[in-house]
Symmetry: D2
Subunit: 371 residues, 4 copies
């Protein structure tokens, strides 16, 4: 294979800056694929990883969100995850994780996001062992056999495909898998970050009549409204007390009964308690934002009974969710200007990108190793 070495952004020490290092690009073995990375998304989780908030090996090439073009195909790889032919030069994206396929949750529960033994690119793959390049913040990434790789539909740009990062498939998993709003529903989205934005988009595609987003700061909310993703926004910096927020939301629901569906996408534990108050009787409440363990918060369980709620947790995303995300990209891009969400950075500016994500000053930071 004619590739020279590749640059990659490597985390060696928690809390320290990432460094750009050089690695050999290994020829793909049977069933594997090497991609030239065109965009490596920076996710809030990456900030946590860098800061050492999550257990992980080191050194690691970070980057669990990626788009690129196929650079080399291993023996036996002829198609993508949907069975379409796959060739060098095709634009693709891929799932960040490979489930084991054998554990209780993979086999019995058929729920690979709960796999007990997942391999995750950019998180639990060592950079000091072949194939080295197992994260997307690099010129090239090596995708193991069993990876979920899917070609972008015609007319979908690489930029659009990376614009939601892992929030896109995360929303697919939660909104389409569990919340499943009915046509005509009034839906409340708590949180205006990438997951809230992506969730609102899928709620819209699913036919909701009215979407109320509660979050902040104002610029984020306005962007969401400007994109046509939501109908009404409520700024938590304006309405600072819980009762006021609940009242403001309920005022926007038919008959002031409360929302048909509430999607929590904040990451703040107390938002769950607040969201339960926004539900009408018999509503669906999707907990989509509690990815880290921030401990207990006061919640009134009587609400769950009295309102006869259906509360669903949604964990992670599987290869299937990535494929469904890609399949629906033409619908998303037709209605929403996804590419406008992206702020691009050179690979060398990785640490600045991380800082911007931490500060919330960009909607979606994307590293562009190949220009």
């Amino acid at each position: 294979m004619g590739f020279s070495n590749a640059r990659a952004a490597v985390l060696r020490t928690f809390g320290a800056e990432l460094e750009i290092e050089s690695f050999e690009v290994v020829d793909p073995g049977p069933g594997a694929v090497v991609v030239e990375v065109k965009g490596g998304g920076v996710c809030g989780t990456d900030v946590h990883l860098r800061d050492g908030h999550l257990a992980m090996p080191r050194p690691v090439v970070l980057g669990h969100e990626g788009v690129g073009v196929v650079a080399a195909l291993g023996k036996g790889v002829t198609g993508d995850a949907l069975g379409a032919p796959l060739e060098v030069g095709d634009k693709v994206t891929w799932a960040s994780s490979i489930a084991c396929g054998r554990c209780f949750y993979c086999r019995q529960e058929r729920e690979p996001t709960l796999c007990e033994d997942r391999s995750v690119y950019g998180i639990n793959r060592r950079a000091d062992e072949p194939p080295y390049l197992s994260g997307s913040w690099a010129d090239f990434q090596y995708l193991d056999p069993g990876s979920t790789i899917v070609a972008l539909p015609k007319g979908v740009s690489l930029e659009a495909a990376i614009a939601l990062g892992c929030a896109g498939p995360t929303a697919v998993h939660g909104v389409l898998g569990f919340a499943r709003p009915q046509v005509g529903a009034t839906v409340v989205i708590q949180g205006s970050g990438p997951v809230g934005l992506a969730a609102a988009m899928y709620v819209r595609l699913a036919g909701a009549a009215r979407i109320v987003m509660i979050g902040g700061p104002a610029a984020r909310l306005e962007r969401a409204r400007g994109l046509g993703v939501v109908d009404v926004v409520i700024d938590v910096f304006d309405v600072t007390d819980l009762l006021g927020r609940v009242a403001a939301v309920v005022d926007e629901t038919p008959g002031r009964r409360g929302a048909d569906v509430v999607v929590e996408a904040t990451g703040v534990p107390s938002a769950v308690a607040e969201g339960l108050e926004m539900c009408r009787l018999n509503a669906i409440f999707l907990v989509l934002g509690q990815y880290t363990d921030a401990g207990a918060t006061p919640i009134n369980p009587h609400l769950i009974t009295r309102k006869q709620l259906k509360v669903f947790g949604s964990w992670g995303l599987s290869g299937a969710d990535v494929v469904d995300f890609v399949r629906t990209l033409p619908q998303l891009t037709k209605r929403f200007d996804l590419a406008s969400l992206v702020s691009s950075y050179a690979l060398e500016d990785v640490n600045r990108a991380l800082e911007d994500v931490r500060a919330g000053s960009v909607t979606k930071a994307v590293l562009s190793p190949n220009g």
Copy 2:
């Protein structure tokens, strides 16, 4: 109609003792039925009502659980809720409430337990207006048009039909309507009161492989085990710390993964937080016991996400649940000695029955107005 007046236990003053008063037995109008009450169950809720913890009109003939025989049929009543012929002398039970059929929750959501305008026997029906006798703690009860009345199946005694009181249909609503354990499931029941007991029975009928009950005191647990309702009991008076209880329960689950289904039937808010810890990933958690608003309790919402739980609230019981309860009574009585749960009291001993229920010294107190 040849009936003389009827005695009834009436609540006139919150906190005071009930008094036995006499009322006219009104002839049933079109669509109505008069029953001679053979058993009026005493429920924990009745203690709350007597003590004034819930808003209700007064005076009221208490008693929302009842069995009896048909004394008189109004014009047009020819069958029971299942379409079987109904005649004077038939043994019957009936639903305590009549949903309005027109509100958003009745019509759009088809969920009459959430009806916004329910009439409830023994709770929100005045005793100083005709037909006066709208509770089961009386010699006769007047059942309005639209009541759900169902004849007992052959071979089912009145005593067996009243032995679970409203806990029976409550368990039907929650366990068969929402939790729906799979054949072979390992199920944890939190709480050993009537609702926990009834829930365990339906979990057993549904084919659970293993039922662990956590509650107390010991005598209740042993009764549950003795009846064959549960396989393993854990006494909260023995294992007094949360971590210990969680560990004890998880030890009883396959692969120590946690329970497939957890049913909360305690009424203690903190039990919800504890029950979430007992769930395996992808489990179902049914909140069946939070009928009164005891305020917020610390709950960790990360568990809902991380475990990808399905948390269902279940509120009340409808006429359909009462019918399903009666339909399954032959199966319940075949496996469990329901009648052994009953402690009978004369109508005059109503205040003693209430005290015994408050003290938890009986499993099921039943007033027997007609001997």
Copy 3:
């Protein structure tokens, strides 16, 4: 009440022309409502009724689809089915049937479309007994207590509300109640009549990526495509053999696997056999068009097993479906020009309207008694 008599189109003899007769407008009793009819839809079923193909009493004022304005409110009527205030002059529509609320299917199964004792306006209500005016082909219609009446949302015209007739709520019942296509789905609609058209609209609202309609004649298909309801049309008059049609449809599905969801809306028994061939493995097949019993047709049940299909039948429509239809009218009218589907007729031209419906020369015939 100040109304003079009202004209109505009456069916007295099967097969004969309807006659315009005059009836007293009865003042609405408690819970009832009188509406001034602005549009009475003509449905294919009306042709069958006129021809005597269905058992029904006579004389009957036909018309089971209607829109109008409230003319008089009976005592106790203060709101519509969604709880919004209802006043004289409000634009409304209403469900054609009132379920009994007490039979096995109403109470136990909570499925009023299967009610064993339904009252249906314009079909099983006699015109020679008060309140006489129980069909929509009249100047006024009397709506009994228990009717589902719903005010039109702001901005929705009477014409738009009647444009789909009962096909609208029928599609709600089937598509939103059973088929529930996922966002991104490829859906095949068999049939281009009102039910097929309405089904396609709801499939679109629910987020389908691609809708293929197979039917005819060409003008109908082109109208459906022109309205933006469907993406691809296949004309059964062009492709006249089953294998060719199946191949043509499958060619339009991703990976040529077949459709994710197929909705049969033809009324032709053999279409069911054909539709099963168009399903991919694990697909949903909705039988929405077999409203009349045309006897058996050759069907290969091995397909149901081999493809592991979910086949749902959908019968009729309930008050809830009418309400959901009205709630989603703003969404429908925003995307599709519903009013363009309507051809208006004076009440006196009722027989011509029936002939046009029989001939299929109009998409939606609507009688306009009040101009």
Copy 4:
């Protein structure tokens, strides 16, 4: 590894008798397991295979149903499919197929029974290539990496585990996966062969109140009733006309409304048409018996609409179904004498066993290679 060669029953020529041949027992590679076969079930499908009715390679060691003890573990195999430790000498059973894990149906639909590229022991594995012994009609069987192997629960005999053959997991897949009868249901089972028998057992475990089996001959029906699997039997040799059979079944249902659930397990196409007639409105109909394509049969699709049925097809069985079958074996064996169903044959008598299965003279033929 100390094994000498092993005997196996090999199909070389369609229609001809199988021959006993000798093969090398290959040492298990990484992730593989060699089992000493204790019982190899003979299934109706094997007769079809022998007769050449299904496409398959040859030569093949037949036998897709098996139980045995672990003889040797490949590197890396430490546990069974439930994560329990696995050691030489453990009693086990295994799934007959290995799904690819990558095709559309494995990954997107999470339905491995629809896998487009399955490897199936005893059916599509050549005997003239290593590891040769890929069927259960042999002294030893070689189980590839990725096989679903599960240890028998304590107290469950090898004989009980093989007594239902693949009909056991087939019933798990259909009854627990799709039909899911409610507690208290009245269920009709069409067919009294192994699949009907196994389906009835799971319907029983799931809490059905009443099970009616329609099939024949009389001896089979009586065995089913004798084992306590069904409550009522109707012999198709006694009631020979469709209308009579439908009436006989409906007479056994509550209110003569028809069955809540009907499970078709006959393999006869016309049974599907007949079963639809036995359904009540809103019933579930499970097509579990149409495994071979016998072409079209007259079916009335109006029934699906008019009764608003849910018709589910169920195809095959996955590793998860085998595991669930094994998990529920203690419940099955507690209620039903499974071992009594088995007729044992020496491996050399394989052709006689096939003839007995073809003749229907045994309930379950099992080859016992190791005595």
